[in-house]
């Protein structure tokens, strides 16, 4: 059996050089809870921490004292030490960038454009990009010595790495030039260079989407160009921040094939991008205090009792235990197969809990479990 190195959360959060921890992984694996638990633990071990969450569950938000999406870090009550938390408002973050970089009139023009509204509120990728933008802002503010970020529930765990690049591609370069050409030429399509492409573009788009659309698109792109002349540069800055030595990625997964597959992709991708991976956290792992009693033996013992017609309760409990051991065995197989393909990735596990975490006590318990000091047996 492959035994992975143990991921040690305390070494990571106690190291003053650790400035940013990014929790990533596929949807529904408990990323936000992990981020919050890491934040609480780090604060209680003496760091000045801010946790940036994206769309937390209502009760978890309440646990952190977050009642609204107001894009401002708020102090979390009840924590020994300094813990701040905030929820990302992606549209507002985007609006603020526009307002900061454009004169009021142009900003107004952009904010009212339907393309902008779509880009800033519904495009998949915007949320990821804005989370990274906000991360950059928090980092530059210098107000905290540790920032813990929870990444958005993307369709793919990799979206948030690709989003800046993708948006940069849209708002930069050849396409923009193409779209802007007629506007710069006073609305006439006289520029030789782009005539062929643009002529075809306008005729197709006008025919299919209507003339209004193309005008909106041009207004948007033209207005945006002045604001985001250096959009790609901004994206590059964020990207470099993610590669910097003070950054650590925590890949979060559940012991399910899909989640671990995503985790694998992620680990590989981080290596490709030279981004520092701290470890894998496997949430919701089933454990047992009687793990030496295997599923098969427990099942057999239950059958013995049932055949005799005695000790009914014990027989049911042995069946329950057999099922748990069955799940445990399956989960270890999944974890082993992850470790055989990524033998150097340190792993920590967090036990499954019957109920969702909804208070600081629960977050502390997860932090303890993550650090290998589980106080409660197997849930």
């Amino acid at each position: 059996m492959k035994v992975p190195p143990v991921f040690d959360i305390d070494t990571l959060i106690d190291d003053p050089d650790t400035k940013i921890i990014v929790c990533c992984g596929s949807g529904g694996v408990g990323k936000t809870t992990t981020a919050a638990a890491v934040g609480v633990r780090a604060a209680e071990r003496g760091r000045d921490v801010v946790v940036l969450t994206v769309d937390p569950a209502r009760r978890l938000a309440q646990a952190l004292g977050l009642s609204e999406l107001d894009n401002t870090p708020r102090a979390v009550e009840g924590v020994e030490g300094d813990l701040y938390a905030m929820m990302l408002d992606m549209k507002r973050t985007f609006d603020e960038i526009v307002e900061a970089h454009a004169d009021p009139e142009r900003a107004q023009q952009i904010l009212a454009n339907p393309f902008y509204q779509s880009l800033s509120s519904s495009l998949s990728g915007t949320q990821e990009y804005m989370a990274m933008e906000k991360l950059g802002q928090l980092h530059r503010s210098g107000d905290w010595d540790l920032i813990v970020v929870d990444t958005p529930p993307s369709r793919s765990a990799l979206d948030f790495l690709d989003a800046p690049e993708r948006m940069g591609r849209f708002l930069d370069g050849r396409l923009i030039k193409l779209l802007m050409a007629p506007a710069k030429a006073g609305g006439r399509f006289g520029m030789k260079v782009v005539t062929a492409g643009f002529g075809m573009f306008t005729s197709v788009i006008t025919k299919v989407l209507g003339g209004q659309l193309i005008r909106d698109m041009q207004t948007f792109v033209l207005a945006f160009d002045t604001v985001f002349g250096g959009f790609r540069e901004r994206a590059d800055q964020t990207y470099r921040l993610l590669q910097a030595p003070g950054t650590a990625f925590l890949v979060v997964a559940a012991p399910e094939p899909d989640a671990l597959r995503e985790a694998s992709y992620f680990v590989e991708r981080l290596a490709e991008e030279h981004m520092p991976m701290a470890g894998l956290v496997v949430n919701r792992v089933h454990r047992s205090d009687a793990s030496h009693l295997s599923a098969v033996r427990s099942q057999a013992a239950a059958e013995t009792l049932e055949a005799r017609g005695s000790h009914q309760l014990t027989a049911s409990l042995l069946r329950l235990h057999a099922e748990r051991m069955h799940i445990t065995a399956r989960e270890s197989r999944l974890r082993e197969s992850f470790t055989s393909s990524h033998p150097s990735v340190p792993v920590a596990t967090v036990g499954a809990m019957a109920e969702d975490v909804h208070d600081l006590e629960g977050l502390r318990a997860i932090g303890n479990d993550l650090a290998g000091e589980a106080t409660e047996p197997a849930a």
Binding site: S26, G27, G28, A57, R58, P114, F115, S118, L119, L123, G125, P153, R155, F170, R174, L175, L178, M200, F201, V204, K207, V208, L209, G210, Q212, L213, A254, P257, D258, S288, D289, A290, H292, L293, R297, A301, A302, L305, R308, S310, H311, L313, T314, A315, S316, L317, L318, R319, L320, H321, E323, H326, I327, R330, L334, A354, E355, D356, A378, A379
Partner: protein
């Protein structure tokens, strides 16, 4: 793809008349949504298998570019092309398609404007990518449009090509916006071809031929999102289908024992004697303690499940319960869930 495919045998329609009623007779577009991690894709695939049973033909559509269907059916990544991926119980075919917005846009250009070559050129310029990504709602109109096209597609004799179409849709948090394409393109096109296209798609989605099913687990967050999602859909007048409650674990102890376990009042000594009686001699005391703790955990989960079940019941939506498969999800598991859906009348 729009050329009429297999022409059914003359008596084909007779074969497709079902021997029994299901809860969703008349529904031809099944939209399946659910929070991440609830098993949305798995349930969508099982539903497709169940609907295809007894010699029918069903198309399973994926719209998020994750290739989840290919992984489930253990086949190579799906191209933008309808491919047979499985044979249903008692004969029947499941086809699958991974819709790509760019390809759908090109197809749209070709179908309505005969502009395939121009479309290819625009793709090289990055324009199609641009338009399908940031033009408000365009992407969703293309994706839902493809599904409604498959629903309405007929062969030369006027028979529907597919008996039903199942869409593995975006997650619960985004479903109402995704389906409400009319409102989405409002900011984009008040008149014109896209508007017309959106209207046509909307007509299919709003019709009794469509049902939006929610997949959930009996856990707090997924249930909350489901309750919210159902309210959202009702508010905009879209047809709510069924609740597929996934990974349900039935209570394994009688109620009295569950209550005792919950308050740590199980008789550990008697459990220890039981363990010894079963022939597990070593560490019987330790094992008895562990068994009691596991019982307490099971009791907490059972209580939680009951509470979440009650919240779901308040939505007044037909429910289907799917068992937790302790071996995890594989092809055999899909068929098991499909049987379960048929048994409970979902298909």
């Amino acid at each position: 793809m729009y050329s009429p495919g297999d022409v059914p045998e003359p008596d084909d329609n007779l074969a497709r008349v079902r021997a029994r009623d299901t809860d969703w007779d008349g529904v031809r577009l099944h939209v399946v949504t659910g929070k991440g991690g609830t098993g949305k894709t798995t349930v969508a695939a099982s539903l497709a298998l169940a609907l295809a049973a007894e010699g029918r033909k069903v198309l399973l559509i994926e719209v998020e570019g994750r290739q989840g269907i290919a992984q489930l059916f253990d086949c190579p990544p799906l191209p933008y092309e309808e491919r047979k991926v499985a044979v249903a119980p008692e004969g029947g075919d499941v086809y699958a398609l991974a819709v790509d917005p760019e390809e759908a846009m090109l197809e749209y250009l070709e179908m309505f404007y005969n502009l395939r070559r121009a479309g290819r050129a625009l793709t090289r310029l990055g324009l199609i990518d641009f338009a399908t990504t940031i033009a408000p709602g365009l992407r969703d109109v293309l994706l839902t449009g493809k599904a409604s096209e498959a629903v309405r597609r007929k062969d030369k004799k006027g028979h529907f090509i597919y008996d039903a179409v199942v869409m593995d849709a975006p997650p619960t948090g985004r479903i109402s916006r995704f389906l409400n394409v009319n409102a989405e393109v409002a900011g984009l096109a008040k008149v014109g071809p896209i508007r017309h296209h959106a209207d046509t798609v909307m007509k299919v989605i709003r019709s009794p031929e469509t049902a939006v099913h929610f997949v959930t687990l009996l856990e707090e967050m997924p249930v909350q999102e489901t309750v919210d999602g159902i309210a959202d859909l009702r508010q905009i007048g879209l047809p709510v289908g069924g609740l597929m409650i996934n990974m349900v674990r039935p209570p394994m102890l009688p109620e009295a024992d569950l209550a005792a376990a919950l308050t740590d009042e199980l008789d550990v000594e008697s459990i220890r004697m039981g363990v010894k009686a079963a022939g597990v001699e070593d560490d019987a005391a330790e094992i008895a303690q562990a068994l009691a703790a596991e019982a307490a955990d099971h009791a907490r989960r059972t209580t939680l499940q009951g509470r979440e079940m009650a919240r779901l019941a308040d939505t007044d939506v037909p429910q289907y319960e799917l068992p937790h498969l302790s071996d995890g999800m594989d092809l055999a598991g899909l068929y098991e869930l499909a049987d379960e859906l048929r048994r409970q009348g979902a298909a």
